[in-house]
Amino acid sequence: MALSREQIAQRVANELKDGYYVNLGIGIPTLVANFIPDDIEVMLQSENGLLGMGQFPTEEEIDADLINAGKQTVTMAAGASVFDSAESFAMIRGGHVDLTVLGAFEVDANGNIASYMIPGKLIKGMGGAMDLVAGADNIIVTMTHASKHGVSKLLKNCTLPLTGKGCIKKVLTDLAFIEIKDGKFHLLERAPGVSVEEIIKLTEGELVVTGDIPEMKL
């Protein structure tokens, strides 16, 4: 069965390592924070200028001067630091963040990503997404594998304006965990109960399937 949003977040959380500085994008990536394993510590970077983002505030703790990049009220964890936007993106662009998790409309077999604009329809802007995909070595894209109408989002070539070129190596969808290399998608894991055939059917770009594909552990 296809993973729920929470299950996608849960699987991403398994990729976290002790001592990681992590930037979580808006949407499903934000949920990853709820599944950080108890035996490791990670620090969350919010690109509006906060390293060490904490949980949501209680009603009493709410502070209009303390928000995350999704403009939600948050708190600070112990050891947090605050800085300006140039410093925040110096961190990001300079490759100091260990892992970035973000959503997308489309990815393709060349590692391109489209996530910020649907011409004529949705023009909200890229925010920090272009900097994040250009700055991070280690990026996980989370998205649904296909549209409700069964149209694949893992393409030969992205059709929408790109957020970044050749920068995506790992994609986690509701159906599969996939690596991108050598211009191809490589199937690493499948969602529990989802068949390889189903994944092949919903992947437009070339999908390499080598040996038995294990089910994800959640």
């Binding site: 509006n48 009603e59 403009k71 300006d84 023009i123 909200k124 802007g125 272009m130 250009a134």
Partner: protein, 241 residues
């Protein structure tokens, strides 16, 4: 002698000299840390044809969004312009020019403008619409695009505390683009919650030195919250439900 006293007594004085078709750089991220009253003053003045440089453009009735109904904005340079119906209408109708700029590039353009760096290379935006018309160059095996600095005729900034010399301290994530905007204005105007005596701020803990500040005014702020997210005060109470 006025010396280094940057304090002005009215918002009118604070924004004096702002005229049609100027470029204004604004601090703030969403509705957090925005120079609320300086924006209101621009609305009151009715200055038109402005080019605004700001990460966002506020919402329909707050922040820079209030400059939309009277068509005061000709062009906006921003990274994210959602959350605003009138903005979308003017943009789609071609009444408003929008230059979408990646957030980190926008921050760096402001910093560069203030720091006398006319242009810099960045990997952000390579191979995307942002790269159109820009020089691409390879350094150490990777492609980068050339981005130019931004300087404003005015910069409008919100800080937390200041001394009369214009030394500024920001509070939590209301810092965001404000220190960068402060460096990049030919005239930099700052509004703060509190003005303290010279000498009260620790020299090691000043975020923006007064040399960047031309005018300073104390204001009162609504500080509207865009996404009010909370957790229960007592986690046990939830578990008990």
């Amino acid at each position: 002698m006025a010396g280094f006293d940057k304090v002005v007594s009215s918002y009118e004085e604070a924004m004096a000299g702002l005229t049609d078709n100027m470029t204004v750089i604004s601090g703030g991220f969403g509705l957090c840390g925005i120079p609320e009253n300086l924006i209101s003053e621009i609305k009151r003045k009715g200055t038109k044809g402005l080019t605004l440089v700001s990460n966002n453009c506020g919402v329909d009735d707050f922040g820079l969004g209030v400059l939309l109904p009277n068509r005061q904005i000709k062009k906006i340079v921003a990274s994210y312009v959602g959350e605003n119906a009138e903005f979308e209408r003017q943009m789609m109708a071609g009444e408003l020019e929008v230059e979408l700029t990646p957030q980190g590039t926008l921050a760096e353009k402001m910093r560069a403008g203030g720091a006398g760096i006319p242009a810099f290379f960045t990997a952000t935006g390579v191979g995307t619409p942002v790269a159109e018309g820009k020089e691409v160059r390879n350094f150490n095996g990777r492609d980068y695009i050339l981005e130019e600095a931004i300087v404003g005729d005015f910069a409008i900034v919100k800080a937390w505390k200041a001394d009369r010399y214009g030394n500024l301290v920001f509070r939590k994530t209301a810092r965001n683009f404000n220190p960068l905007a402060a460096t990049a204005g030919k005239i930099t105007v700052v509004e703060v919650e509190e003005i303290v005596e010279v000498g009260e701020l620790d020299p090691d803990q000043i975020h923006t030195p007064g040399i960047y500040v031309n005018r300073l005014i104390q204001g009162t702020f609504e500080k509207r919250i865009e996404q009010r997210t909370t957790r229960p005060a007592d986690p046990q109470a939830v578990k008990g439900v």
